[in-house]
């Protein structure tokens, strides 16, 4: 799975802001604010990855235990799926 191409993540005023571009902007005119680990996962999902690869990436980057990393990744993916931002 990966993030759909027509969204852009940028740092604005110290915040990680996601905005739609191109045709996605016609369906969704909002914005998403990501925390630091959310932005990290978002970037990791620019390429096609598995859920396990995301957990491994999070473990390599942050000092968290595997259970927490797995739960965080699961919650993040769930939210992204609900917002229809993921291409399976």
């Amino acid at each position: 799975m990966k993030i759909k191409a027509d969204y852009m993540l940028r740092s604005v005023a110290g915040q990680n802001v996601v905005v739609p571009i191109g045709s996605a902007a016609l369906d969704f005119n909002g914005m998403i604010n990501l925390n630091e680990s959310g932005a990290f996962l978002w970037r990791a999902m620019a390429e096609d990855v598995t859920e396990q690869a995301l957990v491994d990436a999070l473990l390599a980057e942050y000092d968290v235990n595997p259970e927490v990393a797995k739960a965080d990744v699961g919650a993040f993916i769930k939210k992204m799926r609900e917002a229809n931002l993921i291409q399976e």
Binding site: M8, R10, S11, V12, A13, G14, Q15, V17, V19, I21, G22, S23, A25, N29, M31, N33
Partner: protein, 246 residues
């Protein structure tokens, strides 16, 4: 109606808008051609920015917005075109009514119908018609010029045609909402960024969007934004002025 408009002449003019040399190719007698007269200006050499829509493009836009006349479409989409091209010159348009007092620009932004113009008109009444003016009643331009943030009037000023062709330093941006009582408070840079993104024309291509976000990031390192609840009493203007001059 459309037939009559399509035989209108085309006017090619040189303008100074937001401090830039602009070439505009417009339908003669159209809304934007009329509102832009104050911006006509001679300059040497090529324009820095060119605005103009061909018939095919207007027809396509008119299909999306059938409630608008062809000349209203020209007004709308030349504004969008100008706004998008302006990004290359470190500027963007904000949907706001901008009032100038003591050579500072105060921008009041809100969804249509909230009372932006009502509020800036109140400033004129309270602080004096001779000491204040409306820089632009609908779409002022904000440009980052070195260390300065300058607000410009543009010919795209909405229904009222209240605009002036000058640049004035920004004092603050305020997001308005109606309220029984008057109150104002500063908002975080994050809320300001979201507020601005909701009240500007969002470019669809990624290069322009990236540039807009970069501008917002730079703007919000220097500028302060506020949110305000206001009624239509004189006190509303005084509350806003005091709040934005802490």
């Amino acid at each position: 109606m459309q037939k009559a408009e399509s035989v209108l002449g085309i006017s090619k003019g040189k303008y100074s808008i937001a401090g830039l040399n602009v070439g505009m190719i417009l339908r003669e007698g159209g809304i934007i051609e009329k509102q832009a007269k104050e911006y006509l200006c001679e300059f040497e050499g090529d324009p820095q920015l060119v605005v103009g829509l061909d018939d095919e493009y207007l027809t396509a836009k008119n299909k999306i917005a059938p409630n608008l006349s062809r000349l209203e479409c020209e007004y709308m989409w030349t504004g969008e075109q100008f706004c998008t091209k302006l990004l290359a010159f470190d500027g963007f348009m904000l949907h706001a009514s901008a009032v100038v007092y003591e050579n500072k620009a105060y921008l009041f932004s809100a969804p249509s119908g909230t009372g932006k113009s009502t509020h800036t008109t109140l400033w004129r009444k309270v602080f004096g018609e001779d000491k204040t003016f409306i820089l632009n009643d609908d779409k002022p331009v904000i440009r980052l010029e070195g260390e300065q943030i300058i607000v410009y009037g543009t010919p795209w000023s909405g229904k009222t045609d209240w605009n002036k062709n000058v640049g004035v330093p920004l004092q603050g941006i305020c997001f308005l909402q109606r309220s029984k009582d008057n109150w104002i408070e500063p908002i975080s840079a994050k809320d300001a960024a979201f507020g601005i993104l909701n009240q500007t024309i969002r470019p669809q291509d990624s290069g322009s969007m990236s540039k807009l976000l970069e501008l917002l990031d730079r703007l919000l390192q220097k500028a302060t934004a506020y949110k305000m609840g206001c009624n239509m009493e004189d006190e509303a203007a005084i509350t806003a002025y005091r709040g934005m001059n802490p």
